[in-house]
Symmetry: C2
Amino acid sequence: MCKVNIYITLKEAVLDPQGKAISQSLKDLDYDGVNDVRVGKYMQVELENRENAEQKIEEMCRRLLANPVIEDYTYTIEEVV
Amino acid sequence: MCKVNIYITLKEAVLDPQGKAISQSLKDLDYDGVNDVRVGKYMQVELENRENAEQKIEEMCRRLLANPVIEDYTYTIEEVV
């Protein structure tokens, strides 16, 4: 069994209105010094076995989990015994 | 300046319908061996200075970024020179 953590973020060039709204809300709450906020997704996927996990996860990200046109993704895999 | 990565996840006991939907979609796409999917948020916050960053981020999470009733959060802070 293995646990995969997937981090999906908007590409640099893509505007992030949700992040902007959070940034503004933090300023309204008197937090100064917040330069930028960007919001992405964090997925925890549990796979039955470790075999070919990289390849499977890559494919899942491209086909379903992320939108490769506007999003980047990275992941880490940890084996669970 | 420092970059903070915040990971917000639903608490273990809270149902995750979005994760269930993704899990089912992966099965429909013929990916076997997916035991579980849980979806959370990933925020990248850029702070002007490193001072008291832990304390500020904790407070931001509790007041705005996360819902402590149903969500857990963790974060990492990396200094940028």
